[in-house]
Amino acid sequence: MVTGQVPTYQELDFYNKQMRFALRNCGRIDPENIYEYIARQGYQALGKVLTQLSPQQVVGEVKTSGLRGRGGGGFPTGLKWQFAQQAPETEKYIICNADEGDPGAFMDRSVLEGDPHTLVEGMIIAAYAIGASQGYIYVRAEYPLAIQRLKTAIAQAEELGLLGEDIFSSGFSFQLHIKEGAGAFVCGEETALMASIEGERGMPRPRPPFPAQRGLWGKPTNINNVETYANVPVILLESGAKFSQVGTEKSKGTKVFALTGKIKNTGLVEVPMGIKLREIIFELGGGISSGKDFKAVQIGGPSGGCIPAQLLDLPVDYDSLVEAGAMMGSGGLVVMDSDTCMVDLARFFLNFTQSESCGKCTPCREGTKRMLEILERITQGEGREEDLDLLEQLGETIKATSLCGLGQTAPNPVLSTLRYFRHEYEAHIRDKKCPAGACSALLQHRIIPDLCRGCTRCAKVCPVGAISGKVKQVHKIDSSACINCGACLEACPFDAIERA
């Protein structure tokens, strides 16, 4: 058989710069068959940990690896484990935050659906390291397939004795439970998540005390996200030092990104830290699907920010992104072309966080509401000159004074678009124009006299009678009567109507 003409995966642009740690088995194995996971080194790291390493040594390896939390803030994982390990109490908990809720993000879902055992193995290792005997996976009920595959994986691991009593005859015992969340965005915040597991309303609690001191049921708790745990078996199977060879000085290993928006190759990629955004979007992602110009990429979801074209060569690592006004977040990349209005985009994300605000603290509850009102006003063409300063002032105050991560990051999309696309805001306010042609209240329909043949079709379809003109003569739109519905634009056979 001739296979020469079919490229290998490594030869595809989509894959040749990828490096797969967390996704190493996704799309390769049957996620409902534990033996296929075992055949690809599955549970070997766990066996090594339980029979050869002390909990302190495990924490040491994870610290050496330089692994940082993949869920948002990027806190060093080994250090977090060390805090929980050193907490004096005997009853401790391990939690996996699988409450993935950013619009356009599906990194965790793919791991849960494609390789649930890597999460189970990573969590058992973490439990051994900190001394926990119970663990919870908090996953949203909107992920039914992920939940089903997790349940299967847990049952199989229990059947083989990899979960339960005296694992690998080491004396270490661990049980894993699934908690289905109802889908409130704030429950992705760790203290709200723990309140939700306890049966309380999902509302955040002040920190400190941090979960490592007082977490679930008031006991020391370690909480990481799916991708973080998925990296743990990789680190322990080899060594922390080997893992730390990938990435940049302060951001080690790889990161999974979900590519969405106006990009050709929508999908999921895992790339070494330090890669440039340009490489992800234009090489792996294949560029802009519409063929129009790249405008910006929203990174980190509603908590993140917009990176403009002039920063495309920014290396993707925790610190560079924060410096640019965005954040790694969990890894959603929404690509935008010249048709996207940045004011409208900021309004969209703020509308999301505003509706998801739990209402406990005033800066988030009231502040995001006021910011949203200002943004709505601007997109309606009723913005005022002082609005931009007010937005910045409100944004900085909300960031500094909100109780939890939701409020502390909610202004980011507004602040980063103000930083890089201030001229678009100004165009909305001063010229009452939307440069991207997206805010319908600011659009005007106009007949281009040179192209109009006076066929009367536009006047016939106009629902408000705003178009006048005699047959075979140039027509005219009365902009005070026009409702910008666009019916004339569609009806005109001569492309004589423009919208701007």
């Binding site: 995966y9 390769r28 549970y43 059947e159």
Partner: protein, 122 residues
């Protein structure tokens, strides 16, 4: 199922599984992540089962998760014994019929529809 009580037990189970996988006959693997299912993988699976029955061939039908190319879903891989795994993308019921007849029955890769081949296995 016997419980794994030591690292040696795990290694033995791993070796047994690798041997089982090496002896596997023809396999078709359908991408059954949410992205695959949303793009029509369940229909693909159903047509595949019907076609395999119609030709009365020995084929193991398996599933896998998301490999990342969500844009190309539904994805379907064909793996014949001792050969690389060939991935087909944007698979339609008609393409399933062609794949079963031309690739599985006649042994010819559909070069026009194949996306990529996975080289290292197990």
């Amino acid at each position: 199922m016997k419980k794994i009580e030591s690292v040696a037990d795990l290694s033995r189970i791993k070796q047994e599984q690798i041997q089982r996988q090496e002896k596997r006959g023809a396999r078709v693997i359908v991408g059954m992540g949410t992205c695959g299912i949303a793009a029509g993988a369940k229909t693909v699976l159903q047509v595949l089962e019907e076609e395999v029955q119609r030709y009365d061939i020995q084929v193991e039908i398996c599933q896998t998760g998301c490999i990342g190319m969500c844009e190309q879903e539904p994805l379907l891989d064909v793996q014949l014994p001792n050969q690389g795994r060939i991935t087909y993308g944007k698979v339609t019921p008609n393409l399933v019929k062609r794949i079963v007849q031309e690739h599985l029955v006649e042994g010819n890769i559909l070069e026009d529809a194949a996306l990529a081949r996975l080289t290292e296995e197990v």
